[in-house]
């Protein structure tokens, strides 16, 4: 900005948004006086902003519907809490009963799941369950011991469920899913901002591999093969964050096979 001839588009944007200190603000004004094209551009941006406010500003002036009252939501939440607790208890019983019955489709012959099949299954599971508000998981993360025991039994591996709290993610819970040739466990984690990641795990032996990234449809997947498990971590987060989460998971997930 000291060099008067170099005024970037970023400077102009910052000027429009009032992000510049007064001295630079004045510098831009002087520049705009001599540059009609940029002056025009800045004026157009300001018009856009005025138009946006004309379009949507009135919404904030309206009285919000009663269902959006935080006090009311909190009250209903307290009222429903006992009912919900009973429903969860009932569904746990169902899950346990279902657990002894085996799952449908087990006998179907399916081709060996390649890494890519694994990743696309994991992405589909992520896309299906993360938007769920009421029933994102079958077994709640608070019931960690039960979850570990149940999933270990169904996957025939001694799993230890990764603790990602060092990265700010707490366990929402898990569910069991059919997968090509086996069952899969889906573990869901959430951070304080409501961003969810899922860890998809299938029993699969093979050579340990490095971590692979794949990206598509706004989701990033990190997949790897541990000693006895195929694992895919899926989320809509920066790669570095996912990689950190994947490494933490890798370290704790596979505490050895049952075999």
């Amino acid at each position: 900005m000291n060099d008067k001839t170099i005024i970037t588009e970023a400077d102009l944007n910052a000027y429009v948004d009032g992000e510049l200190p007064p001295a630079e603000q004045a510098e831009i004004e002087a520049y705009l006086a001599d540059h009609p094209a940029d002056r025009e551009r800045v004026a157009a941006w300001r018009d856009q902003e005025a138009t946006l406010r004309a379009l949507y500003g009135h919404v904030a002036e309206e009285t919000a519907p009663a269902r959006l009252s935080p006090h009311r939501i909190a009250m209903e939440r307290r009222r429903n809490f006992s009912r919900a607790a009973m429903a969860i208890a009932a569904s746990l019983v169902l899950v346990l009963l279902g657990g002894t019955g085996g799952w449908i489709g087990r006998g179907l012959v399916t081709p060996d799941a390649s890494q890519m099949t694994l990743v696309s299954e994991a992405e589909a599971a992520h896309a299906l369950y993360t938007p769920e508000v009421l029933h994102p998981v079958e077994v709640n993360g608070e019931d960690g011991a039960h979850l570990t025991k149940w999933l270990s039994k169904r996957l025939d591996r001694s799993l230890s469920i990764p603790d990602l709290s060092s990265e700010g993610f707490s366990l929402v819970g898990g569910r069991l899913l059919p997968a090509a040739g086996s069952a899969a466990a889906l573990l869901m984690y959430e951070n304080r901002d409501g961003a969810r990641v899922t860890l998809y795990v299938v029993p699969k032996s093979g050579q340990e591999t490095a971590m692979h990234f794949s990206t598509g449809d706004g989701l990033t997947a990190v997949s790897w093969q541990a000693e006895t498990l195929g694992c895919v971590l899926v989320g809509n987060l920066p790669r570095e964050t996912l990689l950190k989460l994947a490494k933490t998971s890798y370290g704790s997930l596979d505490s050895g096979s049952n075999a």
Binding site: A10, A54, L55, A64, R77, D193
Partner: protein, 168 residues
Amino acid sequence: MSSFLDDIETLVPALRRYARALTRNADQADDLVQDCLERAIAKQSLWRPIGPVRPWLFKIMINLHRNDRRRRRSAPEYEALDVLPFEPASPATQGARLALAETAAALDRLPAEQREALLLVALEGMSYAEAAGVLDIPTGTLMSRIGRAREALRTMVDGTGPRLRSVK
């Protein structure tokens, strides 16, 4: 507890405004705000925000909206977009109404990440630092998204029809 609820209550109008601009559908917008509030209230005991509540709530809402969009993409359905989100209160000229509708439609054609960024700054009046925090991106990335959004809108709106600007 109740001061937390009071805090978020003061933010409901802004959340509704932002949600309306994101979804351009009044019912869908209020559903989104309701989900966001329920999520925030359910989480507050576990994750009582350390810093200010506003960026936290917007972050939750944007995450929910992204999840929702992904779900809608995999299960497409008809949804009515409000062509004009309201009857202008003041008798507007045909031209001004057209300008509003045109901008609303152009906004809809922006990539989601640019729309999210531009609306935080231009509509909600957030500073670059706050908006970058909400979106979890560096300030430089935020600035480039806003810059691209503005230029794209300008091309879309200016490219067709007459100049829509009223002289100030």
